[in-house]
């Protein structure tokens, strides 16, 4: 398939040009839910990366056996298997964190990002490219999560990963770590990204 991007292109595309959160608006549920702190956000990003890469490689290995009308079921079942693995590992080694993340780890199963990558890349290209694509997308997802979590945690508590970054007389904007803060932060950051985009396009003209 000559028109498909190569592994390196896939990897680079995932990080910024096709960032899953800011450009494709995929996987918003965990993005909003776990970004009230840096630690849960990073744990979530690592779990998503694990599931994404594994599912991509497996789907890519079995891509020639897939029947078109059954592919979504095969995708979701493959993803569910790896999510179960990730969930059990988290519960074994990071019990407190798995309690904090609650149902959002199992909800990776229905994360549109992973199904979309299986559909777009893994079911068409070889395992190596699929793995690179998964890594790139996961990195982009992690960066997006980290950016939102940084804004919310710093403004909401004045701390970042347990260290105080704002002076103690900073009045904590508690709303930022509550559910509404997630919506507003993501909306404003999305607007900011679009704004930078427009500016760059204008400069190019």
């Amino acid at each position: 398939m000559a028109d498909q991007p190569t592994a390196i292109e896939r990897f680079i595309q995932g990080i910024l040009p096709e960032n899953p959160v800011y450009r494709q608006l995929l996987g918003l549920c965990p993005t909003l839910a776990v970004t009230n702190g840096m630690k849960p956000a990073l744990t979530m990003a690592v779990s998503v990366a694990f599931v994404l890469v594994c599912a991509n490689v497996v789907i890519s290995l079995i891509r020639n056996l897939l029947k078109p009308h059954l592919r979504i079921v095969v995708f979701t079942l493959t993803i569910a298997t790896f999510v179960t693995v990730a969930d059990r590992v988290l519960a074994a080694y990071l019990f407190q964190m798995s309690k904090t993340l609650g149902p959002y780890i199992p909800l990776i199963i229905v994360n549109c990002l992973i199904i979309c990558r299986c559909e777009v890349c893994a079911s068409k290209q070889n395992p190596f490219t699929a793995a690179a694509d998964g890594l790139g997308q996961a990195l982009g997802f992690g960066l997006a999560l980290a950016s939102i979590a940084a804004v919310r945690e710093i403004l909401g508590t004045g701390m970042l990963m347990g260290f105080r970054v704002l002076p103690a007389l900073w009045p904590d904007w508690v709303i930022m770590v509550l559910p509404p803060g997630a919506f507003i932060t993501l909306g404003l950051l999305l607007g900011l990204v679009n704004y930078i985009d427009f500016k760059r396009e204008e400069a190019r003209k």
Binding site: L25, L26, L28, C29, L32, A33, V34, N36, P40, I72, V73, T76, L77, A80, T81, V83, T84, D87, R88, K99, T100, G102, P103, P106, L107, I109, V110, N111, C112, I115, I175, V177, L178, P179, P180, G181, A182, F183, I184, L186, G187, L188, L190, G191, L192, V193, N194, Y195, D197, F198
Partner: protein, 262 residues
């Protein structure tokens, strides 16, 4: 009476206080993507509620009869191979995610076939939404919540029965419908507004969602107030019996609850 209070509290909590969209952030994709026309949003909400009820019924039955330790079906099958004591220990809950997603996918498929055969106009109005519901987080979230209350409890008396599970699914779907219809109404008006270009589309939807979430935070604590009103403490019932006026809804109960999960 206690059962009724439980049902009422679950219904209130699922539909308004801990709204699936504004509190748990599940089902954001249709919230951002589909909420452009009120009719479409309402159709989507109805479809989600319908599938959610079926999925809740399936997941409750599977969890109770197959997955949890000592469940009748797995114990019966294992009884052929081991002693009854060992068979009652079998715990299949580790398989729950795979089983649930399979149950949801197949039930969506069956619902689609059934609706297409018997209600063609309804099928046309649902259109592409019906298959998309398979990958809707809200449905899996309802199943997982039910699992938590069936398999995750130590005391068998606290285990949810089918009525509670169905209440959660029905009213969770109702809350989803409320949220998505409100958003669609606002977005219909937004088309007439002058929005800064970078914010058009998803960004402004999310910001408005945040403002709506602030509004819905106002319901926090209603459940404890209702609980207090319906299950009065001994002092309150004594005071009521003596004819004193008692403030049943106390503002002190309306504390803001945990940040991420109850």
């Amino acid at each position: 009476m206690d059962y009724f209070v439980d049902i009422l509290l679950i219904a209130l909590s699922a539909s308004i206080i801990n709204n699936f969209i504004f509190y748990y952030f599940v089902g954001i994709c249709p919230f951002v993507g589909v909420s452009k026309k009120v009719e479409m949003a309402f159709g989507m909400g109805c479809a989600v509620t319908f599938v959610m009820s079926i999925a809740a019924f399936l997941s409750w039955s599977i969890t109770v009869f197959v997955l949890i330790p000592g469940a009748p079906v797995s114990a019966f099958i294992a009884g052929f191979f081991t002693t009854p004591e060992a068979a009652a220990q079998i715990d299949l809950t580790v398989l729950s995610y795979i089983v649930y997603i399979f149950a949801i996918a197949s039930s969506v498929q069956f619902v689609e076939m059934y609706v297409r055969k018997f209600f063609p106009p309804l099928y046309r109005s649902f259109g592409v939404f019906l298959p998309l519901i398979t990958t809707n987080c809200a449905i899996l979230f309802a199943c997982l919540t039910i699992m938590n209350h069936v398999a995750g409890v130590d005391n068998p008396k606290e285990m949810w029965d089918l009525g509670r599970a169905m209440t959660l699914a029905l009213f969770g779907g109702l809350g989803f419908t409320i949220a998505i219809v409100i958003m669609a109404g606002i977005r219909e008006e937004l088309e007439l507004c002058d929005i800064p270009k970078p914010f058009e589309g998803a960004a402004i939807t999310l910001v408005i969602g945040g403002i709506l979430a602030i509004a819905f935070m106002g319901f926090t604590g209603v459940d404890s107030g209702v609980k207090k009103a319906l299950r009065p403490s001994p002092q309150v019932s004594q005071a009521v019996a003596q004819g004193e006026s008692v403030a049943l809804l106390d503002i002190k109960d309306c504390n803001i609850q945990g940040v991420i999960m109850p």
